[in-house]
């Protein structure tokens, strides 16, 4: 086994993939279908390679050939339907473990796959020379629900004129959704990609476009791509459409693609990409690894940015013209992210899922460096603070985020994150929110490493990794160097220690191997006699999501004499730290005060405590711990900190702290900051909102005009007529952002009656009235949207008398004015739409607020019309957000249904994902509240959604799981009737008895569980040695619990009904029901029969393929059907094969053997035309020896093959 030479990387597969051809020779936009083939070149690494496992989902496989020989195969996707729907469990614990097991069963990182190909015996019997195998697979995709997304606008004209396009997408490794492959980030190979598309279209894919050739009829052309750099299948992508092509004017090897008519926007938006390139190449001292780069902008994108080898797919909504201010930095950020991931993520790929954090961390880190360079240090620190706050809030609320999970022993019990309702073992079981936080934390930890070893070393490490990878990438496969392109945690840490000579072990242990953040509480006292600052730092490490910190912490103390850094050691039991002060209090001397940055300033020290030389204290100012600090210091100290500390993070902390001190002094400090033009604009913006809150707290003593009004007037209004705003001129972005924010904050002001002051409202209305953008070179759409938001913020609940119906007549006069404006804005938008329809978005929010506050009747119909497919996505999301809110407030079952239907049917994946996300954020009810909405039908519906309705989209499925968790919690939903436990267990006797109260309904399509699988959840069984790895047939290591729970995979029952469903025109689908199940004793003792186990495992292999789009409703079917020809098309094989995840309960298999013998008395009706029940029984005994492959569905025959156990 040559693999062992590869340092650290052990392939889970008995072969090595070296090259893959993907050829898609037809893309039909009308039917949304794709036909093609793949050819994988593999080198076996074992003697007698007899099975090849590949990943494939959704694809319909027509034939498989290995070295020109027809090869039998089976296709089995246990994730299609996680728990068989007859399960009445309905508890999330059960689902999550079943789902994890299903994902594990086909996990390419463990060497598994949905598609198992049997190598024809002629090939593997040839002996031990390890020769090349070429695996050729023909496949098609029909209306794919995942993996590829077709956008086909419903207008007149050819597909190109309509702007129809298709592109690949997915969350993590999802390439298996559109072609068979080894869908692992660690299996690298070179690629040849061919796409034949309509002559009016362009196919953009990974690698170099070698040539484009017309087909013979000249109506189509074939794009030939070659990717010589070894690349993992998940990094392969495709986009086809009538794209407009823009060659980057600065870098001719970079090409940009956008949809028709958007070229001017593309030109503008891409005009700075070369700067990002230059930046990365410079800091990494490494050339961009691929010979070309392509950006494609598509509609209905799954995520804003997704990076693949040598290309990135973006949302078309990132494109903008030069008139747009707010979108510009966002688009630049997205480009920078995409490019960072080209180096780390695409070129260098991860070795395993546990190493994901390294790649996300590095790409996030270098992206951060770009932000620092482009947007400045203030922006960078502001961003870091934001990221830190985000991860801290998330972990404290939801529990820890673990970067580098290890699964020792592979047992489910060792779950490192028991607080979560999902498993973190696979990317595909993660909640999206968790994954976002994971990336955020990974980057922050990378920054912590930088703090520890310096940026120079950090960049040297990256450079080293890239050089290694690029040397490896140019090698031929045989040199076994390719695994150098995979990055593992271990290799990364080793590289760090080699380069820097520093031991970062403790840091890694704290933040990478452990989850949680640190929560500090700080307070201090000044001891005048000793001239010592007595600092107390306590920690909370018992709450969820926290951990204990031991180690150094930096404290910065600003004294009268200057700023001093102290490094304290946080130890187990020491809470108090004495810090000697440098200066005596001597405030009578007039002297400038030196700041940290060397600046010396005059301060008015009158506010200070006369006895203390302390101006302010900061704990961990560099954010070198992932922590939350709650620090207590006097209000004047916060005010000094706000005014004089130059670090924006300190200023922002001071602003949040000042909210608790509504005093004239705080007001003054905030107003000063607001007027301070040198101050970072985001700090000033934050100050606006703080000022509004302080003003409200001081409402009875407030002097002068409403907060910010005079300032705004001075800055933005005409000198002669202060209520009229100047003609817009947004050339100075800082004041533009301030101009946008101030009215929004002002509208939050309240008078003593808790109403928005009349003059504030009039002021905002005047701003709208006199808004004039004609002389401005920038669009004012965001500004106007903010003015509408200001109107929204001014709303207060209506005074309602006897819950009267809201009518036009009793409309409040102020609200009438607001409504006038909103109506006008919304109507004008129809005539002159604004960029990204920002105005409509704001108007919809305003209308919902008006409804919620009882000014206008609460009514969902307007939002429903804006939520429809065909509106701009931002508008839809805003409308849906309003609907979600309506659903919660009005407890409307109809609207909830409407939303859930949209989750199932909407063409845009992003919208479906968003709806579930918003429902989780603003749930109609929660597990702790009672609601009429919570009923059995809803439970069933959501269960179905996550169980089988979302199998085409990992992200959506996890969203559904999240929603289920939010609504019902981990256990059985309380609204369900008491579980009628199918089985009564007697643990002592290890006997289970079918609950006699359950009588399966005959003729109703409800499908009963197999007796052995009902309700024995949680039975603690002895581990079976055989199930742990003897068979190696997709047996997940942790499968024991799963086995007991899974109601799957038992051999055919005599009592089953095979029923042909005639609704499917393409062929029969069969539904099998257990006919009658009378009380049956199940002998738990008979479980462990190793012989039977092995055979069942082998059986699993030999079931026919399952390319079904719908989860087969089959519990179990004919294992032995040598005489049964597979019906005419692959669809049928779906039904014939059941979904046998390999971990399917072996116990149960065995049970059934046992009882089948007893059950012969049971009647069985096979309505299916192939009546072979009798054979079935007869063959039962035979089954263990006979192994049948159903051959290619296309060939329509099945063949017997020698048992694999031979």
């Amino acid at each position: 086994m040559n693999r062992k030479k590869d340092k650290g990387f052990e392939s889970p597969r008995p072969f090595k993939l070296t090259h893959q051809v993907v050829c898609i020779n037809n893309i039909n936009f009308q039917r949304k279908s794709v036909i093609g083939y793949v050819e994988l070149t593999i080198f076996p690494t074992v003697v007698n390679l007899n099975r090849i496992k590949l990943n494939s989902k959704q694809c319909r496989i027509y034939r498989v050939r290995v070295n020109e020989l027809e090869a039998p195969f089976i296709y089995n996707d246990p994730t299609l339907e996680v728990c068989h729907h007859e399960s009445k469990q309905r508890n999330l614990n059960y689902f999550s473990s079943a789902y994890t097991a299903a994902v594990s069963a086909v996990d390419p990182d463990a060497g598994h796959g949905e598609l198992v190909i049997k190598v024809p015996s002629e090939l593997w019997k040839q002996g031990d020379d390890l020769k090349v195998l070429k695996v050729y697979i023909e496949f098609s995709l029909d209306q794919p629900k995942g993996g590829l997304h077709f956008v086909v606008p419903d207008v007149e004209g050819s597909m190109a004129e309509r702007g129809a396009h298709v592109f690949s997408f997915g969350y993590q490794n999802s390439t298996r959704f559109w072609f068979p492959c080894v869908d692992s980030y660690s299996e690298l190979c070179t690629w040849k990609l061919e796409f034949t598309v309509d002559a009016s279209m362009v196919a953009v894919s990974c690698g170099d476009l070698v040539e484009t050739i017309y087909t013979h009829d000249m109506r189509k052309k074939t794009f030939h791509y070659v990717l010589p750099i070894p690349t993992a299948a998940p990094n392969i992508s495709l986009a086809v459409g009538p794209f407009e092509i823009l060659v980057d004017p600065y870098m001719h090897e970079v090409t940009h693609f956008c949809l028709p008519q958007l070229l001017p926007l593309l030109k503008h938006s891409m005009s700075y990409l070369h700067e990002i390139f230059e930046f990365y190449e410079e800091i990494l001292t490494c050339r961009y690894p691929y010979s070309c780069f392509k950006t494609v902008f598509v509609d209905e994108a799954y995520v804003q940015v997704s990076s693949y080898a040598s290309m990135s797919i973006f949302s078309t909504n990132l494109l903008h013209s030069a008139m747009i201010i707010d979108q510009t930095p966002q688009t630049r950020r997205c480009l920078a992210q995409a490019l960072a991931q080209q180096f780390f993520g695409c070129f260098i790929s991860r070795m395993s899922w546990a190493d994901e954090w390294v790649l996300k961390g590095i790409s996030g880190y270098i992206y951060g460096l770009y932000l620092k360079k482009t947007f400045g240090v203030n922006e960078y620190r502001h961003w870091i603070k934001g990221e830190l706050d985000k991860i801290v809030d998330y972990e404290l609320k939801m529990g820890g985020v673990l970067l580098h999970p290890t699964f020792s022993g592979g047992k489910e019990k060792d779950n490192p994150t028991p607080h979560l309702h999902f498993s973190i073992k696979h990317p595909h079981t993660l909640s999206w929110e968790y994954y976002k936080m994971f990336q955020c934390k990974a980057h922050l930890v990378m920054r912590l490493i930088e703090n520890r070893i310096s940026m120079e070393f950090m960049l040297q490490v990256f450079n080293k990794l890239l050089s290694l990878a690029s040397t490896a990438s140019s090698q031929k496969y045989q040199s076994h160097m390719w695994s150098q392109m995979l990055l593992s945690t271990h290799a990364f840490l080793k590289s760090i220690s080699n380069v820097s000579g520093k031991d970062i072990g403790p840091l890694i242990k704290q933040w990478v191997d452990q989850s949680g953040v640190v929560k500090f509480f700080g307070s201090f006292a000044f001891n005048r006699k000793r001239n010592v600052l007595e600092l107390e730092i306590r920690q909370d490490y018992t709450s969820s999501g926290t951990q204990k910190y031991v180690g150094p912490i930096k404290v910065t103390v600003q004294e009268l004499d200057g700023s001093f850094n102290h490094t304290l050691q946080i130890e187990e039991n020491s809470l108090k730290h004495d810090i000697p002060c440098h200066s005596k209090s001597r405030r009578n001397k007039k002297k400038k005060i030196p700041l940290m940055n060397g600046e010396e300033v005059d301060m008015d020290l009158s506010a200070m405590d006369a006895d203390s030389p302390l101006l302010w204290i900061r704990i961990d100012p560099d954010m070198s711990i992932l922590r939350k600090v709650e620090f207590e210091q006097a209000d004047f100290m916060w005010q000094y900190q706000l005014r004089y500390e130059r670090d924006v993070v300190a200023q922002e902390e001071a602003i949040s702290a000042l909210e608790k001190f509504p005093t004239p002094a705080s007001r003054l400090a905030l107003t000063d900051i607001l007027e301070q033009e040198q101050c970072f604009y985001k700090v000033r913006m934050q100050a606006c909102f703080c000022l509004a809150r302080i003003a409200n707290a001081m409402v009875s003593t407030w002097q002068g005009p409403p907060a910010m009004k005079s300032l705004f007037t001075r800055m933005f209004c005409c000198k002669s007529c202060p209520n009229i705003v100047k003609t817009n001129n947004f050339i100075n972005f800082q004041s533009y952002f301030l101009q946008k924010t101030m009215p929004v904050a002002m509208a939050l002001l309240r008078d003593v009656q808790n109403l928005c002051p009349k003059d504030v409202l009039n002021f905002i209305l005047d701003l709208i009235k006199y808004n004039d953008n004609r002389k401005n070179k920038f669009s004012d759409n965001y500004y106007r949207a903010e003015l509408i938001e200001a109107l929204t913020n001014s709303l207060t609940p209506a005074i309602s008398i006897n819950n009267e119906v809201r009518t036009v007549d009793n409309l409040n006069a102020d609200v009438r004015l607001i409504l006038e404006e909103i109506t006008r804005f919304l109507n004008m938008e129809k005539l002159l739409p604004s960029f990204r329809n920002t105005i409509t978005v704001s108007c919809l929010r305003a209308i919902r607020q008006l409804q919620k506050n009882g000014h206008i009747p609460s009514d969902p119909s307007l939002f429903k019309s804006y939520a429809q497919y065909g509106h701009f996505v931002d508008v839809r999301i805003a409308a849906l957000e309003a609907l979600v809110d309506y659903t919660r407030v009005e407890r409307s079952a109809t609207e909830l249904q409407w939303l859930l239907v949209m989750v199932q049917n909407d063409p845009a994946h992003y919208v479906r994902h968003k709806i579930l996300g918003m429902l989780c954020k603003n749930p109609p009810f929660t597990k702790t509240t009672d609601s009429a909405l919570c009923n059995e039908a809803l439970v069933d519906q959501l269960w179905k959604l996550m169980n089988s309705g979302t199998s085409h989209d990992w992200r959506l499925r996890c969203d559904a799981v999240n929603l289920y968790y939010t609504l019902f919690g981990l256990t059985r939903p309380s609204c369900l009737p008491l579980p009628e436990l199918g089985l009564v267990l007697n643990l002592k006797e290890k006997k289970a008895v079918l609950n006699p109260t359950i009588k399966p309904e005959l003729g109703v399509s409800t499908v009963m569980d197999t007796p052995a699988s009902i309700g024995i959840h949680g039975v603690d069984e002895e581990p079976d040695p055989i199930s742990l790895g003897v068979c190696g047939v997709g047996q997940p290591p942790q499968g024991l619990k799963r086995k007991a729970e899974t109601p799957l995979g038992s051999p055919p029952e005599p009592g089953q009904i095979l029923q042909q469903q005639d609704d499917d025109a393409r062929g029969g689908r069969y539904k099998i029901r257990f006919n009658t199940m009378e009380d049956e004793d199940i002998d738990m003792e008979t479980v462990h029969d190793s012989q039977a186990f092995i055979h069942h495992h082998l059986n699993l292999l030999e079931r026919p393929s399952t390319p079904g789009k719908e989860p087969p409703s089959v519990e179990q079917t004919m294992l032995t059907m040598p005489s049964t020809p597979a019906p005419s098309f692959s669809k049928e094989t779906t039904s014939l094969s059941s979904k046998h995840s390999s971990e399917h309960s072996h116990h149960h298999h065995h049970h059934h053997h046992e009882h089948k013998k007893k059950k012969k008395k049971h009647k069985h009706k096979h309505k299916h035309k192939h009546k072979h029940e009798s054979k079935d029984k007869e063959k039962e005994r035979e089954r263990d020896n006979s192994h049948v492959y159903s051959n290619s569905p296309a060939s329509g025959r099945s063949l017997r093959s020698p048992s694999l156990s031979d």
Binding site: P153, V155, V202, D208, L209, E211, T212, I213, Y214, H216, V247, P249, Y250, T255, L259, Q261, L262, L263, P264, L265, K267, S271, Y272, E275, C292, D299, T316, N317, L319, S321, A322, M323, N773, R774, K775, N776, K777, V805, T807, V808, L819, E820, T823, R824, L826, N827, K830, L831, P833, F835, R836, I847, P857, L862, Y866, Q868, G870, H871, F872, V873
Partner: protein
């Protein structure tokens, strides 16, 4: 009959157009009409007629034709066109109680008299409009006998000095109200659905286009601010400099530039400069030999 109808229209328009400057012309037409009336009379068997009678008949004829023209023009303008077409005239005739079906037979009648063409008189010279700018020549696909382009200012957008309209908001409100009244609406209130009419939300097939592309108005604003604030150099860069401009200094400027119209700039000239696989010509398929 077609010619007659059209002619009548033409006459009507001419008679109106040439009120004072071309009295002669007008009279000549009138005389032709008189001849026509006389011919008709002859056709009907009259040998002579009193002048006053002929005059009266001529007057009636003229009124009738004028009415046809007026009526046809009204129909035409109803459908937002400016030149009446045959169907307009037909409808006009029907409206006036004339059985159009009889017209073809009447036109082909045997005893029809041929009237000589009206004497050539100087047709009234429409005073030449002040022409401004260079007229565009016909592009290759338009035959040269087609009318030439009008003055550029009549169809090419020219910057208008924005006039501050203090009633802009009222205009906007009135416009949106009008739109709301004439189209489908949505309402926020159930008791009075006309109170705050909202133009109904209508899904579009390609929603991102209108949401991303700047509107005409914005583009115009941009052009104006550009022409007033930026120097000419940037304008020329905008049109030509985008593709092969390697001047690093231009970058900053470029980011401020407006998108250059809606027309993708032709890359023909750059093709030989840039070697990008997507710009290369598509190859012809290799001819496969039949076995």
């Amino acid at each position: 009959n077609i010619t007659r109808a059209v002619m009548s229209c033409g006459q009507f328009r001419n008679s109106k157009a040439a009120s004072s400057p071309a009295e002669n012309y007008h009279l000549a037409r009138r005389r032709t009409l008189q001849v026509a009336v006389s011919a008709l009379l002859t056709e009907c068997g009259f040998e002579s007629a009193e002048k006053a009678a002929v005059e009266t008949l001529t007057e009636m004829m003229q009124s009738y034709i004028t009415e046809i023209g007026r009526c046809a023009k009204a129909y035409c303008e109803h459908t937002a066109r400016s030149i009446p077409t045959l169907p307009d005239t037909v409808v006009a005739l029907i409206e006036m109680g004339f059985n159009v079906d009889t017209l073809p037979v009447y036109a082909k009648r045997s005893q029809r008299m041929v009237i000589t063409a009206p004497p050539v008189t100087n047709s009234p010279v429409t005073p030449k409009a002040l022409s401004a700018g260079q007229k565009r020549t016909h592009p290759a696909h338009i035959p040269s006998h087609f009318p030439e382009f009008p003055d550029p200012h009549t169809y090419i957008k020219t910057p208008i000095e924005p006039v501050h309209n203090p009633f802009l908001r009222d205009v906007e409100r009135a416009l949106t109200r009008f739109m709301a009244k004439t189209g489908e609406t949505q309402s926020l209130f159930k008791d009075d659905i006309t109170a705050f009419p909202l133009i109904a939300a209508r899904p579009s097939t390609i929603p991102y286009l209108s949401a991303l592309l700047p509107s005409e108005l914005e583009l115009q604003t941009l052009e104006e601010t550009d022409s007033s604030e930026q120097d000419d150099q940037t304008d020329s860069e905008n049109t030509t400099g985008n593709i092969i401009n390697d001047d690093p200094g231009a970058d900053k400027e470029n980011s401020m530039l407006p998108p250059s119209g809606g027309v993708p700039s032709t890359k023909a000239s750059e093709d030989n400069v840039i070697d990008n696989p997507y710009l290369r010509p598509v190859k012809k398929p290799k001819v496969r030999r039949k076995k």
